[in-house]
């Protein structure tokens, strides 16, 4: 890992490469999902894996989301380390019983005896004109369920380290790629490395306000930061990377420094993860806040199809800039 040279690869290729390395590393790891085998996945995120590892380890399943998750749970319960794929995050709802009632609760209900080293991979997010049932960000549904770990990588480097940690973790984890980021690029070392689940990353340091950004919103926050810097406003950006466990310490530290917080995510604002983060911040750092905690998120509607509506629906750098300015212009 001690590489000095940058190796720039695509987010989607980082995913595929990590899976290949994990399959080579541990014979108990297998992958199952719709179109992931022969075809290599609808986004080609699994391309070549079936050819290298065969039908037994890279399994094409029927369209059967409940059974796909169940396959993972059962196999994990008796000793394998499954990676099961839900093509779109929206299909989490189709499989919700297996995820929330079975995978998440088995250990607790069985008095600690069950161990479920299960990784669920999926793709979330809007921006591709995929409409209401293929564009959602459902992290709030998942973090509400005790027993699950929820991971949202925002760049190729984190993707690899977090995916390795998910697969090696002995708990059910849900690992969400963002469809609109598949072609984005970044430095990724060869070989397996871990990024601990529950450790946020300070993407950019700043003193005027803190933006907590999730998933693809991290890159939008970086664009906002560049524009704000030209106006003399320096924002700190925090990427939690994992939403459960959540690294509240890093956020609190930043809140005490900048005194102004804006949280940005793609999911619907109402009942979104931003509400939980805001609640925790005010519990720990109320006296440090100079403005109400801002939340930049989607309006209370399903993801619309029309480009004119979808553009206005998904938060972007402009809405983050506005959110930061609102926080700055309030003097507490």
């Amino acid at each position: 890992m001690a590489e000095t040279e940058e190796r720039i690869i695509r987010y989607n290729d980082a995913f595929k490469e990590t899976l290949a390395e994990l399959l080579r590393d541990d014979p108990d790891v297998f992958i199952a999902g719709e179109d992931v085998g022969r075809y290599g996945g609808v986004f080609q995120s699994f391309a070549g894996l079936n050819a290298e590892f065969g039908d037994e380890r890279v399994v094409d399943t029927p369209i059967a989301e409940q059974a796909i998750i169940g396959l993972g749970i059962g196999a994990a319960a008796v000793g394998l380390r499954p990676i099961v794929d839900l093509m779109f995050m929206d299909f989490v709802m189709v499989a919700m019983d297996q995820i929330a009632n079975q995978a998440a609760k088995m250990k607790y209900m069985f008095g600690g005896k069950a161990t479920l080293p299960l990784t669920i991979t999926t793709t979330g997010g809007a921006g591709l004109g995929a409409a209401a049932q293929h564009s959602q960000s459902l992290e709030a549904w998942l973090v509400h369920v005790p027993g699950l770990k929820v991971v949202f990588p925002s760049n190729p480097y984190d993707l690899k380290g977090l995916l390795v940690s998910c697969v090696r973790d002995d708990n059910p984890t849900i690992f969400t790629l963002h469809k609109a980021m598949l072609g984005s690029q970044g430095h990724v070392p060869e070989g397996l490395y871990e990024i601990p689940l529950g450790e946020a990353r300070v993407v950019r340091e700043g003193s005027d306000a803190t933006v907590v950004a999730i998933g693809r919103m991290v890159s939008e926050a970086e664009k906002a930061a560049a524009a704000l810097a030209e106006e003399g406003i320096e924002i700190e950006i925090i990427d939690p990377r994992t939403l459960m466990p959540f690294d509240i310490e890093t956020v609190i530290k930043s809140a005490k420094k900048t005194n102004r917080i804006v949280i940005v995510h793609e999911a619907v604002r109402h009942g979104g993860i931003g509400a939980e983060i805001a609640a925790q911040i005010q519990e720990e750092a109320f006296d440090y806040l100079d403005a109400p905690i801002g939340r930049i998120a989607a309006p209370f509607a399903p993801v619309p199809f029309s480009p004119s509506l979808e553009r206005a629906y998904v938060p972007d750098a402009a809405s983050i800039i506005q959110g930061v300015k609102d926080a700055l212009h309030r003097n507490g």
Binding site: E34, F300, F305, P307, S308
Partner: protein, 331 residues
Amino acid sequence: MPPTEQTKISKEVLFDLHRRMVRIRLLEEAAGQLASEAKIPGFIHLYVGEEAVASGGCVALKDEDQISSTHRGHGHLVAKGGQFKPMMAEFMGKATGYCKGKGGSMHISDLDLGMLGANGIVGAGVPIAVGAAFANKYKNNGLVTMAFFGDGSTNIGAFHEGANMACALHLPIVFMCENNEYAEYTARDRVMAITDVADRAAAYGMPGVIVDGMDVVAVYEAARVAVERARNGEGPSMIECKTYRFYDHAGVSGLGRTYRSDEEVKEWMERDPIKLFEAQLAKAKVMNEEQAKEIHAEIQAEIDEAIEFAENSPMPDPAVDMLTDVYTEAS
């Protein structure tokens, strides 16, 4: 199709079957073209090659009957009476579309036509069709519901739950399977241990028949029997139509793909349902080549007009339209 059987069907019905198929084909070709020019955003799942299924099925229905659909839903809506202008506008995300631009290709619907919606969730339309059939029985209104679904969707729980419930409750419904041998890019034999979806019908206690899904008359005949059974209170039936999509799962590429061979695609294209039917109609002296051409041209003109309408239509306005239609407002 032996001509003797064909003579049992009125000329009016034969023309109707033909017209609905051509309406689907030409709309789909135009939509595919516009999608490849990025004038239609998002994914688009074309029905080209499968026209005989929706047309044969819907001609056997009354206008007031209902259908449920799939992610590949344009053909179902057209066959149920969908108009080109609001369809084209919806594909382009315009405010004048059937769903005001909020649903797009994958959610296109018009409840006024008894079309319960295209659906982004595989299998999800089946239980909804069961609900409509339940309501028809409840109201004793003599209406029938037809659920369209793919081979791949018969592997998901929603399908099995819906089929069993419909049979247990003895509902007026027809299960219309479009078996095109693939679910996205995965061949049927990799994910099903049976060849014929119709085999599943027996497990729920309904008749299951297999028809040539490229033969619109065969589909229509089977649908008529099943619809009549449902209307007479004799319960559900399943029809499996062996068919094929000429284009890719999504978009317009057809040949040169790794998951199915060009030879296979070409073989199926030889059995183009519209060409087959036009040849039969010409042979039976019901419609000659000239008449068929005229019908194509007339429909094409209507589509060109619809494209112009859609292109000149406004986009929805986020300030006005974003938050409407989430709830029904108290009246």
